[in-house]
């Protein structure tokens, strides 16, 4: 991990309030793995003061891609940066998804902006694994399919795809899945991950999930992002350093 200034190549809007930012950063592109993240300083001033964490969305050659929505002042500043502007990146951070193994099918489960890490994961595994993707959101506007393949859509209000949450959508398709040769990769709000964890334990599905928590540094010194461990007498792990990807069995979500 290191701190580096890299230029923005392009920022484009791909969906309602969803932006993809292409950055020329060969140093990061070479090292980063799906599920890892970057902590980005969007302003040299004290507003905002702290960096903002972003999943790596995709990598192509010397370029990295971020996916984000405008949620607060930090993402607003980032979205409005011009091509050629430098972004102050700290990374690569955390542990990514473990995509190795002899499973045959990867089941991607994404809720809302939780779709962000999966274009890169899809690119990495599509030649060796079968991919089955479940994408959900509250409404049509929250269902993001950028960079994904072979997806099933769902929305809480039924405005697109299956009416219900993404875990219910997965359950509907259970008959198509060989549980013993599949691995689930998930990212989304904690409420979704909690339901998914119960589902995966019930059906004995191996599942890794990318978690999130407010954090300052992103590399373990601020101790700001605890997540409770199931294994070690309730000890706290850190989302930034021990995660953000965990096997769902190992953490209390």
């Amino acid at each position: 991990m290191f701190v580096i200034n890299s230029p923005i190549v392009e920022t484009k809007q791909v969906h309602e309030n969803i932006f993809i930012q292409k950055i020329h950063s060969p140093e990061i592109a070479q090292l980063i793995k799906p599920g890892q993240f970057l902590n980005i300083r969007v302003s040299e001033t004290t507003f905002p003061l702290l960096r903002r964490p972003f999943s790596i969305c995709d990598v192509s050659g010397e370029h990295i891609f971020l996916m984000f929505n405008i949620l607060g002042e930090g993402t607003k500043i980032l979205a409005h940066k011009r091509d050629g502007d430098l972004v102050d990146i700290l990374g690569p951070l955390g542990n990514g998804f473990n995509i190795e193994g002899d499973y045959k099918t990867s089941i991607i489960v994404a809720g809302g902006l939780g779709a962000a890490p999966f274009p890169f994961l899809t690119r990495k595994i599509k030649n060796s694994k079968k991919i089955l993707t479940f994408v959900g959101g509250r409404t049509k506007q929250d269902v993001i399919t950028y960079g994904l393949e072979n997806f099933n859509l769902s929305s809480d209000d039924g405005s697109i795809g299956f009416k219900g949450n993404v875990v219910q959508s997965l359950e509907q398709n259970l008959s198509k899945i060989d549980i013993h040769s599949s691995k689930v990769f998930a990212c989304g709000p904690n409420v979704m991950l909690r339901v998914l964890k119960d589902f995966c334990i019930k059906y004995n599905l191996d599942c890794e999930a990318s978690t999130e928590c407010a954090m300052a540094c992103g590399f373990g010194i601020c101790q700001g992002c605890p997540i409770e461990s199931t294994s070690n007498s309730g000890k706290y792990l850190l989302v930034c350093k021990d995660g953000p990807v965990f096997n769902v069995k190992d953490v209390v979500i």
């Binding site: 905002p48 928590c213 300052a216 010194i221 101790q223 700001g224 992002c225 605890p226 706290y236």
Partner: protein, 305 residues
Amino acid sequence: MSRIDLSVKIGSLQLRNPIMLASGTVGYGNEISEFSDLNKLGAIVTKSLSLKPRKGNPPQRIVETPAGMLNAIGLANVGVEEFLKEKIPFLKKYDVPLICNIAASTVEEYVECTKILTTEETIKAFEINVSCPNVSDGGLQFGNDKNAVGNVTAKVRAVTNKPLIIKLSPNVSYISEFAQVVKCEGGDAVSAINTLVGTAFNIFTRKPKIFNVNGGLSGPAIKPIALAKVLEISRKVDIPIIGIGGIMNWKDVIEFMICGSSAVQIGTLNFIDPTAPEKMIKELEDYCIANKVEKISNLTASYIL
């Protein structure tokens, strides 16, 4: 060889420059060593250690506020035993003065921690945290009480010959009175300031943004307060001061020194740019050259009022 003498003294503790990394913003050194050459720094101060490991507070522990952040980590730490076994071997590899910060719930615990740690030669000094606002037991209840601060200082003083620094709370009316007590009871220096008690609420849920409700405010938002506290101590008490509070660049370091600090600690900035403290050293030297300051220690308390 440096053209300017950047070295400073905190009591008997000699530092190669005034840039220290603050407790709770540097862990036990290993993470930050990937960004910065620890050997270039003046000193590093460990995360607060308690006798037994502390789990810390549940999330959310951190929230950003205007030009600052609130934290309520709850003194999560590995405890003295694991620190000596697992963390010291890494720190031994560096030639940077290591200062152990100790936090405790009782006077006895402060004494016990110090007794155990003082035998470790890698540890060059102690910083006693009597001012953590984020735990229900100990912490601030010591920091708000002059008798308690005096008592802790005297009792810890009795069990170590190493330099003893007391980290003072800003959440008091007259911080200089606390510095005076530290001096009288044999403390070698004070660190000022720890974080200020603050809170932030979500206006839609009407709930606090951090689990602990209150947190410690740090970052550039607190710099003017910290400077005023340092100045107050400097004018009233003859004791070395380590200035802390929202330092973001070399200019802030100089300002803290002019207001009375012998050295400074960089805190919140480490979260934002862990490469910054090391870079400041060269900039301090440039300032000294440009302003004909032969020894940086000459800046300490050089205010003109």
